[in-house]
């Protein structure tokens, strides 16, 4: 086997040194009746070229060369090539968790910078080194709110990503954490009145997403006020990180749970992605996940270490803030490099292009179909309601190598023929025009109230 660095002679020499007659001696501790005396029934050993061919074939069967309008928690942004150049360095790729700080300063300093940038972008004071993804970060943020407040229930926005809500439900189920759902208004925002009524003295937090699942920016200030008035925390989930370049961050939040996939992480059919939790300094000891901190060596030289480990499972075991151990380090490094590439000015300009593409698309779609949720600002997603079943529209598009918006009936049957469309800096005007043209085939030429949406500040 070409990965194994031993010759038959090496194996013999080692067996001899050990004093074993054969390799079987070493497996003697396994009761004989369980030992496998046959080959595993898996494909035969393949040449590297055969492996590449096999996956190349799978790649071709997987939407290669399609242009997509899908977002919904997974966004197609341009990935600067230096991300892969850098993360492919063996010293990053093949290193373990940086517990041995003296030979892990590269990873540790990178995490420290990552934490800093996440703080800057989210408006929070501390951020961890990563969580599995946005959904689990969100669920763990809710659990953290429970720990911080000593309360047990959570009011969760219906406009939080449906799969995040599912994950939250799974996590909450056995922790005695009742969930109450808060609906949305015609503007696509959380219904504040309904919210007020849902909050009880046992509400640990109000959990929202902004921009929410429909692409609409929530009124975070108002939500923060309501939550805090009732002694609850405000937890904000962010699924589209690029929005932070142009959308005011949730400064009123107590905890931000973020999916940073947009920052340079490939769509990759859903993972690996990069969750993060950021919060106020005062809550740091309730936080899950690894943290890098600054310190000094014996000569007073600056260095970094993993710190506050007493929150973690390997120290606290059943009393830990979470069971998380392996996180998404290398993906966080991608995110880190992306943030560094775009930086202070680029992130804003990038977000602006997303905004412009989306405004143009929403406007165009609005000429032929109803664009839902006018009256509130949105980032790079919008909901289009058609008379025709969006699945039908989408199969028409598919014939032209276009993947249309996500039909929402799967998650929101009440929204009927609505679909969630996304445009990023990668979406060309041509693609938008083509998609609009194909959608228009079935829709009457009647402009919706969309033009109103374009100027929300008015």
């Amino acid at each position: 086997m070409r990965y194994l660095p031993k010759s038959p002679a090496d194996r013999e020499a080692i067996l001899k040194a050990i004093g074993a007659r054969s390799i079987d001696d070493l497996f003697a501790p396994i009761p004989a009746e369980y030992r496998l005396n046959r080959d595993l029934k898996i494909p035969r050993q393949m040449a590297e070229s055969e492996i590449v061919d096999w996956f190349r074939q799978r790649s071709k069967e997987n939407g290669l060369d399609y242009t997509s309008f899908l977002g919904a928690g997974a966004y197609m942004h341009y990935r600067p090539v230096i991300i892969d150049s850098l993360i492919s360095r063996g010293e990053f790729l093949t290193a373990y968790t940086p517990y041995q700080a003296e030979i892990s300063q590269g990873t540790l300093q990178a995490i420290f910078e990552f934490q800093t940038m996440i703080c800057e972008l989210t408006g929070m004071e501390v951020a961890n080194a990563s969580m599995y993804d946005g959904s689990t970060a969100t669920a763990e943020a809710a659990m953290m709110a429970v720990r911080v407040t000593g309360r047990s229930s959570v009011v969760v926005a219906q406009s939080l990503h449906p799969e995040y809500r599912e994950v939250l439900a799974t996590y909450a189920h056995h922790q005695g954490m009742p969930l109450v759902t808060g609906g949305f208004t015609d503007a696509g925002r959380l219904n504040l009145k309904e919210l007020e009524q849902s909050i009880t003295p046992d509400t640990a937090c109000v959990l929202i997403q902004s921009p929410n699942f429909f692409g609409t920016v929530e009124d975070v200030a108002a939500l923060g006020e309501i939550a805090h008035q009732h002694g609850a925390l405000l937890v904000v989930s962010i699924a589209e990180a690029v929005s932070l370049g142009i959308v005011e961050p949730p400064r009123e939040a107590d905890i931000v749970a973020m999916e940073a996939q947009s920052f340079g992480v490939p769509l990759g059919f859903g993972g690996p992605y990069c969750g993060v939790i950021a919060t106020r300094e005062k809550f740091v000891r309730h936080m899950p996940g690894r943290l890098a901190g600054q310190t000094t060596d014996r000569n007073g030289k600056r260095g970094f270490v993993l710190t506050l480990a007493t929150r973690e499972q390997h120290i606290r075991r059943e009393k830990a803030t979470s069971n998380i151990c392996t996180n998404q380090a290398l993906v966080a490094l991608m995110v880190n490099i992306f943030m560094t590439v775009y930086g202070k000015v680029g992130l804003r300009e990038l977000a602006k292009q997303n905004l412009a593409k989306t405004a143009y698309a929403a406007d165009q779609f609005g000429r032929h179909a109803r664009v839902l949720f006018p009256g509130a600002p949105r980032f790079n997603e919008f909901v289009v309601e058609t008379s025709e079943d969006p699945y039908v529209i989408n199969s028409r598009l598919l014939g032209h190598k276009l993947v249309g918006g996500l039909p929402l009936k799967k998650f929101y049957p009440e929204l009927g023929n609505a679909a969630l469309w996304c445009c990023t800096e990668m979406t060309t005007r041509t693609a938008i025009d083509t998609a609009v043209g194909m959608l228009a085939e079935s829709e009457a030429e009647e402009p919706s109230g969309e033009h109103a949406v374009e100027e929300v500040a008015r």
Partner: protein, 495 residues
């Protein structure tokens, strides 16, 4: 410091500040394409939601970023540089072809919600990996959704709970041996189980009589790592399974140590009901400085209805599809389908090995651990003489007499050009030196390791201070972790 190593030499190495310290307004590493739609008035579109300033984000050029991260990277140890004998972590070679196939465009750019019709490639990968892992574990059904080992434990215990619940009683506790990894009890707590410790016997295995005594109808499951964290195969596994099953409990296996078993024995055959795998250990996906991982959970038929959803199914037209209609499912544990990129890599590893390669891999892993054990026996205290599988655990008992602890020896090993072994656990061995070479080490590298460890042992006798002050050859000397935790500085702040 009369001892010299043949393994490493000091060499000039670049310094590098924080990226923020290199920032200056007007530098940029980005450029956007021409905008092909009208510019927008952001104030008009966003109103008060418009962000005016993104904060202290860096402004640097591309070459500075390349240098920044290249320099940083040279401060790291890595498998690509040498042996990484972290016990329980299975730091094996990460094949480069895995990285290549994971980046194939259709796989790297596939959107999780794209129509199944144009997702057959990804679905086929899920399906093929599933089939391979089931054959390897001897189990009946699997979920690939969990993002890491601990996440797999969560999914697994959720299924355990759902199973008992479906039978009318979720039960109250989970038995966990005192040698277990910290995630085991932490997970049990998250699923609402109380943890009951199970003592190991003097051979480092589950004390069957104690288990028998502790097992009752309140116990939902035993969480067993096998081989356990001493690297010891639980020889009485059959009896253990019987005791658990007799009281209606389930046997959960933490599969972190599957590298000792693949192709040689199947957990499904020796009574395991639920288990997780670590694709980032046994199946060669890179650790990447702490992640990402992937923690599939395999179960026996009785637990199949409770798998997280969706699951992959064959459709009548021969295509593959996701099935969401799973009324007994524990629900989702993660958005989308898990760490798909890791599935690609793990499958590439399996295909590169085939049945013969996987078996040889396991044999070499066990061979290596025993070689190291042989080399260091007598030099370091071996608290359990039970045969070792893929790893061996020594203690610092002999060196502690001179005031030298396992962490000191670990730090000194750095000077000898090695990454240290695991020091943090198993807790049943005070001052543990937990060593797992994996199959990826050749004889030469192991000989150097043994030589280094022996040399350190001599140093402890002759000149303990050198060991206590280690490392001496790194760009920073021993870092003050206590100070870091006392007054945490968790981010850079502008001066």
């Amino acid at each position: 410091m009369k001892h010299v190593t043949r393994k490493a030499t000091r060499h000039v190495n670049q310094n590098e500040g924080l990226i923020f310290e290199k920032s200056s307004p007007g530098k940029a590493a980005w450029k956007l394409p021409l905008l092909d739609v009208p510019e927008v008035n952001t104030a008009k579109l966003l109103g008060t939601a418009e962000r005016k300033d993104v904060g202290h984000m860096p402004e640097v050029s591309e070459i500075e970023i390349i240098r920044h991260f290249t320099r940083l990277s040279t401060w790291n140890y890595a498998i690509d540089l040498g042996m990484y004998p972290l016990g329980s972590c299975t730091m094996k070679y990460n094949p480069r072809v895995n990285e290549v196939v994971a980046r194939l465009e259709g796989l790297a750019n596939g959107h999780p919600y794209q129509p199944e019709k144009i997702s057959q490639g990804a679905l086929r990968i899920l399906k093929t990996l599933t089939e391979c892992l089931l054959e390897i574990t001897g189990m009946d059904a699997i979920t690939l959704q969990p993002a890491a080992g601990a996440h797999g434990e969560l999914a697994g215990l959720l299924m355990v709970r759902a199973y008992h619940h479906a039978k009318g009683n979720p039960r109250k506790k989970v038995l966990i041996p005192d040698s277990a990894h910290g995630t085991n009890p932490a997970t049990a707590a998250m699923v609402g189980y109380s943890v009951e410790n199970l003592k190991s016997n003097e051979r480092g295995m589950v004390e069957v009589s104690a288990l028998e005594a502790q097992m009752n109808e309140d116990v939902a499951a035993l969480m067993l790592t096998n081989p356990n964290t001493l690297g010891v195969f639980e020889q009485e596994i059959h009896t253990i399974a019987e005791i658990i099953h007799a009281k209606g409990g389930l046997l959960y296996m933490d599969g972190a140590n599957m590298n000792a078993l693949v192709g040689k024995v199947r957990p499904g055959d020796f009574g395991v009901d639920v288990m997780h795998l670590n694709l980032h250990k046994t199946f060669s996906t890179p650790h990447g400085g702490g992640g990402p991982g992937s923690g599939p959970v395999a179960v026996k038929q009785a637990l199949e209805p409770f798998l997280p959803k969706p699951v992959v199914v064959n459709k009548s037209d021969g295509t593959l599809a996701f099935e969401y209609n799973r009324p007994q499912s524990v629900g989702r544990v993660r958005s989308f389908y898990g760490n798909f990129g890791m599935f690609v890599r793990a499958l590439a590893y399996i295909l590169a090995n085939g049945p013969d390669g996987l078996r040889q891999t396991t044999e070499d892993a066990v061979l290596n651990a025993n070689y190291i054990r042989k080399g260091l026996e007598g030099v370091y205290d071996l608290p359990y003489s039970t045969p070792s599988m893929h790893e061996v655990v020594f203690s610092d008992k002999l060196q502690a007499k001179k005031g030298v602890k396992t962490m000191d020896i670990a730090k000194r090993l750095i000077d000898y050009g090695f990454h240290p072994y695991t020091t943090a656990f198993p807790l049943i061995v005070p001052g543990a030196l937990m060593i797992e070479p994996t199959e990826s080490e050749g004889k030469e590298e192991m000989d150097l390791f043994v030589e280094a460890m022996k040399s350190i042992a001599e140093e402890v006798e002759e000149d303990a201070q050198t060991v206590l002050d280690a490392p001496h050859t790194t760009r920073v000397s021993r870092l003050d972790e206590t100070a870091a935790a006392r007054k945490p500085v968790l981010r850079w702040k502008p001066a």
